[in-house]
Symmetry: C2
Protein backbone atom coordinates (compact mmCIF):
# COMPACT_ATOMS: atom_id res chain seq x y z
CA UNK A 1 0.00 0.00 0.00
CA UNK A 2 2.74 2.41 0.87
CA UNK A 3 5.64 0.62 -0.73
CA UNK A 4 6.89 1.51 -4.17
CA UNK A 5 9.16 -0.50 -6.43
CA UNK A 6 11.82 0.38 -8.92
CA UNK A 7 9.34 0.98 -11.74
CA UNK A 8 7.34 3.38 -9.61
CA UNK A 9 10.48 5.33 -8.83
CA UNK A 10 11.33 5.54 -12.48
CA UNK A 11 7.86 6.87 -13.22
CA UNK A 12 8.20 9.50 -10.50
CA UNK A 13 11.64 10.45 -11.70
CA UNK A 14 10.59 10.95 -15.30
CA UNK A 15 7.42 12.77 -14.30
CA UNK A 16 9.33 15.10 -12.01
CA UNK A 17 11.45 16.15 -14.96
CA UNK A 18 8.63 16.32 -17.49
CA UNK A 19 5.19 16.47 -15.95
CA UNK A 20 3.46 16.81 -19.29
CA UNK A 21 4.89 13.73 -20.96
CA UNK A 22 2.26 11.69 -22.78
CA UNK A 23 1.37 8.48 -21.03
CA UNK A 24 2.17 6.59 -24.20
CA UNK A 25 5.71 7.90 -24.30
CA UNK A 26 6.15 7.40 -20.59
CA UNK A 27 5.11 3.77 -21.03
CA UNK A 28 7.63 3.33 -23.83
CA UNK A 29 10.44 4.67 -21.69
CA UNK A 30 9.41 2.45 -18.81
CA UNK A 31 8.94 -0.64 -20.92
CA UNK A 32 5.33 -1.39 -20.05
CA UNK A 33 1.97 -0.83 -21.71
CA UNK A 34 0.29 2.57 -21.36
CA UNK A 35 -2.52 1.03 -19.34
CA UNK A 36 -0.21 -0.44 -16.73
CA UNK A 37 1.73 2.76 -16.34
CA UNK A 38 -1.54 4.68 -16.07
CA UNK A 39 -2.72 2.41 -13.29
CA UNK A 40 0.54 2.76 -11.42
CA UNK A 41 0.45 6.51 -11.74
CA UNK A 42 -3.11 6.63 -10.49
CA UNK A 43 -2.05 4.66 -7.44
CA UNK A 44 0.94 6.93 -6.84
CA UNK A 45 -1.38 9.91 -6.90
CA UNK A 46 -3.95 8.28 -4.67
CA UNK A 47 -1.32 7.32 -2.11
CA UNK A 48 0.05 10.85 -1.99
CA UNK A 49 3.41 10.43 -3.68
CA UNK A 50 2.37 12.84 -6.40
CA UNK A 51 0.72 15.94 -5.01
CA UNK A 52 0.11 17.67 -8.31
CA UNK A 53 1.67 19.08 -11.43
CA UNK A 54 2.88 22.54 -12.26
CA UNK A 55 4.52 24.63 -14.94
CA UNK A 56 8.00 25.86 -14.07
CA UNK A 57 8.01 29.59 -14.75
CA UNK A 58 11.05 31.78 -15.19
CA UNK A 59 10.96 34.39 -12.42
CA UNK A 60 13.28 36.80 -14.21
CA UNK A 61 11.07 36.76 -17.29
CA UNK A 62 8.18 37.75 -15.06
CA UNK A 63 9.96 40.72 -13.61
CA UNK A 64 10.97 39.05 -10.38
CA UNK A 65 14.68 39.66 -10.60
CA UNK A 66 15.60 39.66 -6.94
CA UNK A 67 15.64 36.62 -4.70
CA UNK A 68 16.06 37.23 -0.98
CA UNK A 69 16.22 35.18 2.17
CA UNK A 70 15.14 36.79 5.41
CA UNK A 71 15.85 35.52 8.88
CA UNK A 72 13.09 36.61 11.22
CA UNK A 73 13.16 36.77 15.00
CA UNK A 74 9.89 37.08 16.86
CA UNK A 75 9.12 38.65 20.19
CA UNK A 76 7.92 35.64 22.15
CA UNK A 77 6.38 37.72 24.92
CA UNK A 78 3.36 38.52 22.76
CA UNK A 79 0.78 35.71 22.63
CA UNK A 80 -0.31 34.30 19.24
CA UNK A 81 2.75 35.75 17.52
CA UNK A 82 3.46 32.50 15.75
CA UNK A 83 -0.10 32.01 14.54
CA UNK A 84 -0.46 35.59 13.38
CA UNK A 85 2.90 35.54 11.65
CA UNK A 86 2.16 32.28 9.87
CA UNK A 87 -1.22 33.52 8.70
CA UNK A 88 0.16 36.78 7.33
CA UNK A 89 2.88 34.91 5.48
CA UNK A 90 0.32 32.74 3.72
CA UNK A 91 -1.41 35.70 2.12
CA UNK A 92 1.78 37.39 1.05
CA UNK A 93 2.43 36.69 -2.64
CA UNK A 94 6.10 37.64 -2.51
CA UNK A 95 6.81 34.87 0.00
CA UNK A 96 7.54 31.60 -1.77
CA UNK A 97 8.64 29.64 1.27
CA UNK A 98 8.63 30.09 5.01
CA UNK A 99 10.07 27.68 7.52
CA UNK A 100 10.23 27.61 11.27
CA UNK A 101 13.75 26.63 12.17
CA UNK A 102 15.69 25.52 15.20
CA UNK A 103 18.72 27.66 15.85
CA UNK A 104 19.60 31.30 16.10
CA UNK A 105 16.35 32.70 14.71
CA UNK A 106 12.71 31.70 14.35
CA UNK A 107 11.70 31.80 10.70
CA UNK A 108 13.50 31.67 7.41
CA UNK A 109 11.61 33.39 4.62
CA UNK A 110 12.31 33.03 0.91
CA UNK A 111 10.82 35.75 -1.25
CA UNK A 112 11.00 37.00 -4.83
CA UNK A 113 10.54 40.65 -5.72
CA UNK A 114 11.31 42.89 -8.68
CA UNK A 115 14.25 44.80 -7.22
CA UNK A 116 15.66 46.41 -4.10
CA UNK A 117 13.04 49.12 -4.13
CA UNK A 118 10.30 46.52 -4.15
CA UNK A 119 12.10 44.63 -1.40
CA UNK A 120 12.25 47.66 0.84
CA UNK A 121 8.55 48.12 0.43
CA UNK A 122 7.93 44.44 1.13
CA UNK A 123 10.12 44.55 4.23
CA UNK A 124 8.52 47.68 5.59
CA UNK A 125 4.90 47.13 4.67
CA UNK A 126 4.63 43.39 5.09
CA UNK A 127 7.29 41.91 7.32
CA UNK A 128 8.04 44.68 9.79
CA UNK A 129 4.39 45.69 9.91
CA UNK A 130 3.57 42.41 11.61
CA UNK A 131 3.22 42.65 15.37
CA UNK A 132 5.80 40.61 17.24
CA UNK A 133 8.58 40.87 14.67
CA UNK A 134 11.60 41.84 16.71
CA UNK A 135 14.44 41.65 14.23
CA UNK A 136 15.17 40.65 10.65
CA UNK A 137 18.33 39.91 8.70
CA UNK A 138 18.20 40.05 4.92
CA UNK A 139 20.41 38.12 2.52
CA UNK A 140 20.18 39.08 -1.12
CA UNK A 141 21.04 36.34 -3.61
CA UNK A 142 23.79 37.29 -6.03
CA UNK A 143 23.87 34.04 -7.98
CA UNK A 144 21.55 31.06 -8.04
CA UNK A 145 23.99 28.20 -8.22
CA UNK A 146 21.35 25.47 -8.06
CA UNK A 147 17.67 26.13 -8.47
CA UNK A 148 14.84 23.79 -7.52
CA UNK A 149 16.55 20.51 -8.19
CA UNK A 150 14.38 17.40 -8.41
CA UNK A 151 14.02 15.25 -5.32
CA UNK A 152 16.26 12.18 -5.33
CA UNK A 153 13.82 9.32 -5.94
CA UNK A 154 16.16 6.77 -7.47
Amino acid sequence: MTEIDKIDRKILSILQGDGRIANVELAERIGLSPTSVGERLKRLQRDGFVEGYGARLNPHRLGLGLLVFVEVMLDKTTPDVFERFAKAIQTSPEVLECHMVAGGFDYLVKARVADMTAYRRFLGETLLALPGVRETRTYAVMEEVKRDAPLPVG
Copy 2:
Protein backbone atom coordinates in the same frame (compact mmCIF):
# COMPACT_ATOMS: atom_id res chain seq x y z
CA MET B 1 7.85 39.75 -28.46
CA THR B 2 8.62 39.89 -24.79
CA GLU B 3 5.42 41.46 -23.58
CA ILE B 4 2.57 39.41 -22.24
CA ASP B 5 -1.01 40.45 -21.75
CA LYS B 6 -3.65 39.62 -19.21
CA ILE B 7 -4.70 36.43 -20.99
CA ASP B 8 -1.11 35.17 -21.03
CA ARG B 9 -0.83 35.79 -17.32
CA LYS B 10 -4.01 33.88 -16.70
CA ILE B 11 -2.68 30.96 -18.71
CA LEU B 12 0.56 30.98 -16.74
CA SER B 13 -1.29 31.24 -13.47
CA ILE B 14 -3.57 28.29 -14.19
CA LEU B 15 -0.74 26.21 -15.59
CA GLN B 16 1.42 26.88 -12.58
CA GLY B 17 -1.29 25.43 -10.38
CA ASP B 18 -2.19 22.53 -12.65
CA GLY B 19 0.42 21.73 -15.25
CA ARG B 20 -1.49 18.76 -16.58
CA ILE B 21 -4.75 20.50 -17.33
CA ALA B 22 -6.13 19.58 -20.74
CA ASN B 23 -5.78 22.30 -23.31
CA VAL B 24 -9.50 22.07 -23.97
CA GLU B 25 -10.36 22.79 -20.36
CA LEU B 26 -7.76 25.52 -20.13
CA ALA B 27 -9.32 27.17 -23.16
CA GLU B 28 -12.76 26.99 -21.56
CA ARG B 29 -11.52 28.66 -18.41
CA ILE B 30 -9.78 31.35 -20.41
CA GLY B 31 -12.68 31.94 -22.76
CA LEU B 32 -10.90 31.24 -26.05
CA SER B 33 -10.70 28.35 -28.47
CA PRO B 34 -8.25 25.52 -27.75
CA THR B 35 -6.22 26.44 -30.82
CA SER B 36 -5.65 30.02 -29.71
CA VAL B 37 -4.65 29.00 -26.23
CA GLY B 38 -2.33 26.40 -27.69
CA GLU B 39 -0.63 29.00 -29.85
CA ARG B 40 -0.24 31.36 -26.92
CA LEU B 41 1.22 28.64 -24.78
CA LYS B 42 3.66 27.66 -27.50
CA ARG B 43 4.83 31.26 -27.68
CA LEU B 44 5.16 31.49 -23.91
CA GLN B 45 7.35 28.40 -23.99
CA ARG B 46 9.41 29.62 -26.91
CA ASP B 47 10.01 32.98 -25.24
CA GLY B 48 11.15 31.34 -22.02
CA PHE B 49 8.31 32.17 -19.69
CA VAL B 50 7.59 28.48 -19.24
CA GLU B 51 10.74 26.49 -18.63
CA GLY B 52 9.09 23.13 -18.27
CA TYR B 53 6.60 21.06 -16.34
CA GLY B 54 7.03 18.82 -13.36
CA ALA B 55 5.21 16.59 -10.94
CA ARG B 56 5.16 17.86 -7.37
CA LEU B 57 6.31 14.97 -5.21
CA ASN B 58 5.78 14.61 -1.48
CA PRO B 59 9.24 14.48 0.11
CA HIS B 60 8.03 12.85 3.32
CA ARG B 61 6.39 10.03 1.37
CA LEU B 62 9.74 9.43 -0.29
CA GLY B 63 11.58 9.11 2.98
CA LEU B 64 13.00 12.62 2.97
CA GLY B 65 11.69 13.75 6.30
CA LEU B 66 14.29 16.33 7.21
CA LEU B 67 14.70 19.71 5.56
CA VAL B 68 17.80 21.69 6.44
CA PHE B 69 19.35 24.99 5.51
CA VAL B 70 23.09 25.35 5.75
CA GLU B 71 25.04 28.57 5.73
CA VAL B 72 28.48 27.99 4.26
CA MET B 73 31.55 30.14 4.59
CA LEU B 74 34.44 29.57 2.22
CA ASP B 75 38.13 30.14 2.68
CA LYS B 76 38.80 32.77 0.04
CA THR B 77 42.57 32.34 0.15
CA THR B 78 42.34 29.19 -1.94
CA PRO B 79 41.92 29.78 -5.68
CA ASP B 80 38.98 28.20 -7.55
CA VAL B 81 37.09 27.58 -4.31
CA PHE B 82 33.92 29.02 -5.73
CA GLU B 83 34.07 27.02 -8.93
CA ARG B 84 34.89 23.79 -7.19
CA PHE B 85 32.22 24.31 -4.59
CA ALA B 86 29.57 25.10 -7.20
CA LYS B 87 30.48 22.06 -9.23
CA ALA B 88 30.33 19.70 -6.27
CA ILE B 89 26.97 21.08 -5.25
CA GLN B 90 25.52 20.32 -8.69
CA THR B 91 26.25 16.62 -8.40
CA SER B 92 24.95 16.29 -4.88
CA PRO B 93 21.41 14.88 -4.95
CA GLU B 94 20.55 15.99 -1.42
CA VAL B 95 21.05 19.64 -2.36
CA LEU B 96 17.84 21.11 -3.79
CA GLU B 97 18.99 24.70 -3.91
CA CYS B 98 22.22 26.62 -3.47
CA HIS B 99 22.59 30.36 -3.60
CA MET B 100 25.52 32.70 -3.35
CA VAL B 101 24.44 35.48 -1.04
CA ALA B 102 25.64 38.89 0.00
CA GLY B 103 25.98 39.24 3.74
CA GLY B 104 27.48 37.34 6.63
CA PHE B 105 28.26 34.13 4.73
CA ASP B 106 28.91 32.93 1.19
CA TYR B 107 26.39 30.23 0.27
CA LEU B 108 23.00 29.20 1.50
CA VAL B 109 22.25 25.54 0.85
CA LYS B 110 18.84 23.90 1.03
CA ALA B 111 18.90 20.14 1.33
CA ARG B 112 16.53 17.27 2.03
CA VAL B 113 17.65 14.10 3.78
CA ALA B 114 16.00 11.21 5.58
CA ASP B 115 16.92 12.13 9.14
CA MET B 116 19.63 13.55 11.38
CA THR B 117 21.84 10.52 10.85
CA ALA B 118 21.68 11.03 7.11
CA TYR B 119 22.34 14.71 7.57
CA ARG B 120 25.46 14.09 9.60
CA ARG B 121 26.74 11.84 6.86
CA PHE B 122 25.90 14.44 4.21
CA LEU B 123 27.58 17.19 6.20
CA GLY B 124 30.73 15.19 6.83
CA GLU B 125 31.11 13.36 3.53
CA THR B 126 29.85 16.00 1.14
CA LEU B 127 29.97 19.51 2.52
CA LEU B 128 32.90 19.45 4.87
CA ALA B 129 34.86 17.20 2.54
CA LEU B 130 35.07 20.02 0.03
CA PRO B 131 38.32 21.94 0.08
CA GLY B 132 37.91 25.56 1.03
CA VAL B 133 34.90 25.14 3.30
CA ARG B 134 35.82 27.07 6.41
CA GLU B 135 32.66 27.02 8.46
CA THR B 136 29.04 25.89 8.30
CA ARG B 137 25.93 26.68 10.31
CA THR B 138 23.01 24.29 10.12
CA TYR B 139 19.36 25.15 10.65
CA ALA B 140 16.95 22.24 10.84
CA VAL B 141 13.39 22.98 9.80
CA MET B 142 10.80 22.19 12.47
CA GLU B 143 7.74 23.22 10.51
CA GLU B 144 7.21 24.12 6.88
CA VAL B 145 4.85 27.05 7.15
CA LYS B 146 4.73 27.76 3.43
CA ARG B 147 6.10 25.40 0.83
CA ASP B 148 6.89 26.23 -2.80
CA ALA B 149 4.20 28.82 -3.39
CA PRO B 150 3.44 29.78 -6.99
CA LEU B 151 5.09 32.85 -8.39
CA PRO B 152 2.85 35.92 -8.41
CA VAL B 153 2.00 36.34 -12.09
CA GLY B 154 -1.29 38.23 -11.83
